[in-house]
Symmetry: C2
Subunit: 357 residues, 2 copies
């Protein structure tokens, strides 16, 4: 295993120590339980956004803590859900009284632990809503998932909802916006190589020198198909068309009803893309793929969107939701309305996303 | 060769097409000869900064074109110097009459071609100064170099001098500042893996599964030593101490004298670091190393700087000067004075470095 680490068991702790030293003006780090929070938390009168999940996807989520995005992030061990006590303590630290939105990627452990944390926080008098992100069109169910996995749309939801909270949206409004971002976002990824979880010490899976995996998950979960390596244009087409031609997707999601104060099953449907839509195009490195290749992908993605009548009004290109050093790429398309564009453009100041300030 | 590309010979062209589509409000791309330039060039009354070099180091330099940084960047083929006609045409496009500074990394081809381009531009009535960046302490001479190689300090010089030009410094002042940044910056890198140049189709060098190369160049040139893989803390210590304990380094550099209007040999010396210095600490990924590992490196670098009496007043952590998908890291320390800190903090708006606007 070739990594720039010390002991595998210290990776997350030392990473957090490094982050705390690097960005003292933006974030603070609490250890045991581990969470990263805004240096100026709690922010008076503002709904607080908290996300979290296994480590190994950096900069998500810790790199997105700060003005205009998250109030706190709860990192688990690599590819392992954080625990409810992390989420509860983070909520208590950043709660200003305006309530908390937990943004949860759809993996069984994350969903369960964030639900439990929400119940515990409510028992302490904190208002909490949970929104689940399930945007990966590759597979219906997966190794750690009932339903679609939560991937790239999470990054976009955190930016857009973070701006809304900053602007004064109340908890119900921020939760509704987050749901809107989720149903309008779709993603799919692929891998050229596996990654190696430090504690495992060997690659999660094997791919032959001439093979790739289409529809890979961010933990290396199996995708749709394994096939011979193709050109960047062909790969982009496979990912983009799977996203653009995905049909209306309906599922039932468990959400907390803020008015009735109980868990309810909500049926919701992702509307398909249509000619005339405005989209944000997000080309994401899985960690080990350099920028030079992402631009080649973006070039083809732009052409495909144009052919399909989709106008790219904003983009994001780089490593934002990664799988350690995995080589590969994921594409996310998010159907944007004016509200979302305005919130996307709003100032943000975090370790890994920063503009306008 | 596992890469997200189409034909190896189209990599740079398609990359540039992707960049042009991605950032039309910031940059324009001219093809044949290839150069990227500010969308609002020429900027009236402002000294124009131009850099360039082989592709494969993205985001350097094209990702640094925009307000507060470069006016143009000239990309060669992967790891191959751009040609004088690219540099000349870029100069003609961005020149506003206040003159041009060529920021040149110290590689034989780059130095020669930028000199030639400067002479050609002067023949057309454009004032040009050249400053060479030679900050890599690893080796004295190298595969493509007489003297030290130009690496991480280049990124910092482009940001700081870009801000100075924006602020109204004249050509002589910007050139002097660039020289000051260069002599106060020192870098060293290491690799866990090789990279593969697309046209070559196979790794530039081989490293056994338990080996690393200390002092690697950004084109995979040999460094100081090849050894068994060590821990992140030990690697950070090797790089950081090589930089911090580097003695005064004196060499003669060929520069254009703006007053005498002739090439002159200038002797200059890099002052060693001393306890009490304020520094910018730059932890750079070689392309394939993820952020999680960079923070572990930063944590140890911070501790070492503290022990040596150096105060880190600013930092930069991420992939900024890369070697395709190489796994590895480089560290740059730049001794900062108040002028440099102020210019570092000034607004910048480029594809890959953006804050304040």
């Amino acid at each position: 295993m070739k990594k720039l680490i010390n002991k595998p068991e210290d990776v997350v702790k030392e990473e957090l120590e490094g982050m705390a030293l690097a960005f003292p003006e933006l974030i603070k780090v609490h250890f045991e339980p581990n969470y990263i929070y805004r240096a100026d938390a709690p922010v008076k009168g503002k709904v607080a956004l908290i996300s979290g999940g296994g480590s190994g996807h950096e900069p998500m989520h810790g790199g997105f803590v700060g003005m205009g995005m998250l109030d706190a992030a709860c990192p688990g061990e690599v590819f392992t859900s954080p625990t409810p006590d992390q989420m509860l303590e983070a909520a208590k630290t950043v709660n200003s009284g305006a309530g908390i939105l937990y943004i949860v990627k759809n993996y069984t452990g994350d969903v369960m632990n964030f639900e439990m944390a929400a119940d515990m926080a409510r028992a302490e008098g904190i208002q909490v809503a949970n929104i689940i992100i399930d945007d990966d069109v590759a597979v219906k169910d997966s190794l750690y998932t009932a339903g679609r996995r939560g991937v790239g749309t999470t990054v976009l939801a955190e930016k857009i909802c973070g701006a809304a909270a900053e602007k004064g949206y109340d908890l119900k409004q921020v939760a509704e916006l987050c749901r809107k971002v989720n149903i309008n976002g779709r993603s799919m990824g692929m891998a050229l190589t596996s990654c190696t979880v430090p504690a495992a010490g060997k690659p999660t899976f094997d791919l032959a020198e001439d093979e790739m995996e289409i529809g890979i998950g961010i933990h290396g979960e199996p995708g749709r198909t394994r096939m011979k390596l193709k050109s960047a244009d062909e790969i982009t087409e496979m990912l983009a068309l799977s996203i653009i031609e995905d049909e209306a997707y309906t599922r039932t999601v468990r959400e907390w009803d803020l008015e009735r104060e109980e868990w309810v099953d909500v049926e919701m449907t992702d509307p398909p893309f249509e000619a005339g839509d405005k989209v944000l195009a997000f080309v994401n490195s899985m960690g080990g793929t350099p920028l030079i290749e992402l631009f080649i992908i973006y070039r083809k993605l732009y052409e495909i969107c144009e052919k399909k009548g989709l106008t790219i009004v904003r983009n994001l290109i780089g490593p934002y939701i990664t799988s350690l050093e995995m080589q590969g790429v994921s594409i996310t398309l998010l159907k944007m309305d004016e509200e979302m564009v305005e919130l996307w453009d709003a100032p943000v100041k975090t370790p890994s996303m920063r503009w306008g300030v």
